[in-house]
């Protein structure tokens, strides 16, 4: 059912574009084009790295904020700031004031470790983009996982402790299964957004050097608005849709399972 809706939608949306007269040529070009393979690979690497890291960090920080610590509320308030900051602004701040090899704060702080004056943006472009995106998406994961942690009944944990379970055991056997749907939801919703990453790449590396950080949305932008080949760009768009459909179908399933759990309560 879902797939039918999606397929309907793809067709519908591309109809007003140049899809018609582009024919199948664009698709055969897609399969042989080096740039597109690089872009698909970069998209996958970026998305997987960002989601994996931000979920792990988000889980750790959410657990911290869910335990007995001072100033939880204020900590959460500060933590969500990176997610709220305009992505273009965040990327610029990272690039020019934190990572700049001459005036940036990070190279200065890292000098004692022999890492000073590293031009992060140019020498490790993908690492830079991943770091900035992880910085942005960890708060998102943390918020969702924290909501999951807070929904668990503390008495069950207490009972486990009375039965002699260690903190680690209790976490793995009781807490983790409980927040799993929340982690899945965060990861899937997050990847729907991260697949589309454009702002930070535009601001940080402009897809470069070469095509090292060109992902699908950025390639489409280059092809359509620097190369003006609309047909080719549409074909890239379709590739992006296919990738997204796979993730989105999973996301919707998770979303509905959470809705059902909530309804049963």
């Amino acid at each position: 059912m879902l797939t039918i809706y999606y397929s309907f939608f793809n067709w519908n949306l591309l109809k007003p574009g140049s899809f018609h007269f582009s024919g199948l040529d664009n698709y055969s070009a897609l399969l042989t084009n080096e740039s597109i393979r690089t872009a698909v690979l970069n998209t996958v690497v970026l998305t997987v790295a960002v989601i994996a890291l931000s979920v792990v960090l988000g889980l750790a920080i959410a657990s911290l904020l869910n335990s007995e610590v001072f100033g939880k509320g204020f900590m959460r308030t500060l933590m969500i700031a990176p997610f709220l900051i305009m992505p273009t602004a965040g990327a610029l701040i990272w690039k020019d004031t934190l990572l700049n090899p001459i005036f940036g704060l990070l190279p200065y702080l890292l000098t004692p470790f022999g890492l000073g004056r590293v031009d992060w943006v140019n020498q490790y472009p993908m690492v830079t983009v991943v770091v900035v995106e992880v910085w942005r998406w960890t708060p998102f994961m943390m918020l969702i996982i924290l909501a999951g942690l807070q929904s668990q009944n503390p008495e069950i944990l207490e009972a486990a402790r009375v039965d002699g379970a260690s903190a680690l055991q209790a976490f793995r056997r009781i807490t983790l299964p409980l927040v799993r749907p929340f982690i899945e939801l965060g990861a899937l919703l997050g990847s729907l957004f991260v697949v589309q990453t454009f702002d930070s790449i535009y601001m940080l590396t402009f897809g470069g050097p070469g095509e090292d950080t060109t992902n699908l949305p950025f390639l489409l932008y280059i092809v359509a608005f620097q190369g003006f080949s609309i047909g080719q760009a549409s074909a890239i768009g379709v590739v992006a849709v296919i990738i997204t459909i796979i993730v989105a179908t999973l996301a919707l399933r998770t979303l509905f399972s959470i809705f059902q759990v909530e309804a049963r309560r």
Partner: protein, 275 residues
């Protein structure tokens, strides 16, 4: 050593760890603020200036320069599209939640599937459409696009809030002879005020921070705040303090709104699934 002392120790330990982590994440934001209050030579010094006398001069320069039109465009685009989402989204959500039409579930799926469509895929047709309708570099195009992007999210969110209203309430109102308009205005709207707030917040965040369509469909007249920041990447010399001041101002509305409405944020981000 008593258990409470052990508890206190671990509480202090974990608090320190927690605050360190939070500091690392918050630091870029803090640094952005600090840089904005410096003078240009202080912002572009090596080693970085840590202690300085804060000055408002860069903020004044940004505000008296060419920034305000960008900011106003952003405000128009996000506020207008958010209002449109509420106007169109509330009836749709009502139809799906309170008086389910046939195949509501499919409609619901269809709505949300449009939200998951990558921006990149719809850019080309939208660009051509905007060109043909003479809407390129027109704020109207952005308003319409942001409305369509956020509408599915809005419908889902509003629906999740509407579902929480006990159905008995509607029964009682109808027994008392309340008309449809009365039902909406006296029952639905007051009860879902938090829902309206959550929906507005999410729509505002997404449309205010949106960059992909803005950079491709506008150039000068209708350009929004993120586009003003683009002018800083072309390496026009060292304008770090000005950059930081502009970035601070551009981020401020969403940051404040998100902080004020933290509770609504989670629910909005998960389309109502997580409370």
């Amino acid at each position: 050593m008593t258990t409470s002392m052990v508890g206190m120790r671990s509480k202090i330990l974990w608090s320190v760890v927690g605050w360190l982590v939070v500091f690392v994440f918050f630091f870029p934001v803090l640094w952005m603020w600090l840089e904005g209050f410096k003078t240009e030579p202080q912002a572009a010094s090596s080693p970085p200036t840590i202690l300085f006398v804060p000055t408002l001069s860069e903020f004044q320069e940004v505000l008296s320069g060419d920034f305000p039109p960008f900011f106003i465009n952003s405000a128009i685009a996000s506020i207008a599209s958010t209002l449109l989402v509420l106007v169109f989204g509330l009836p749709a959500a009502y139809a799906l939640a309170i008086r389910p039409v046939k195949k509501s579930r499919d409609v619901l799926f269809f709505f949300i599937s449009t939200r998951f469509l990558p921006f990149a895929a719809s850019l080309v047709p939208l660009y051509l459409l905007a060109r043909d309708l003479q809407l390129l570099d027109n704020i109207l195009a952005l308003i319409l696009i942001y409305t369509t992007i956020n509408l599915p999210l809005g419908v889902w969110l509003l629906r999740s809030f509407l579902l929480e209203i006990p159905p008995d309430l509607f029964e009682a109102a109808r027994v008392d002879g309340a008309g449809f308009r009365h039902e909406i205005l006296r029952i639905v709207v007051p009860l879902i005020t938090p829902g309206l707030a959550a929906t507005s917040l999410i729509c505002l965040i997404f449309s205010w921070n949106e960059f992909f369509y803005a950079v491709n469909l506008t150039s000068s007249v209708a350009a929004t705040a993120p586009l003003f920041l683009v002018s800083f990447i072309s390496g026009r010399g060292l304008f770090y303090a000005k950059l930081a001041a502009a970035a601070t101002l551009a981020s401020l509305p969403v940051l404040l709104a998100g902080w004020i409405a933290q509770k609504q944020l989670i629910r909005g981000l998960t389309m109502g699934a997580v409370k």
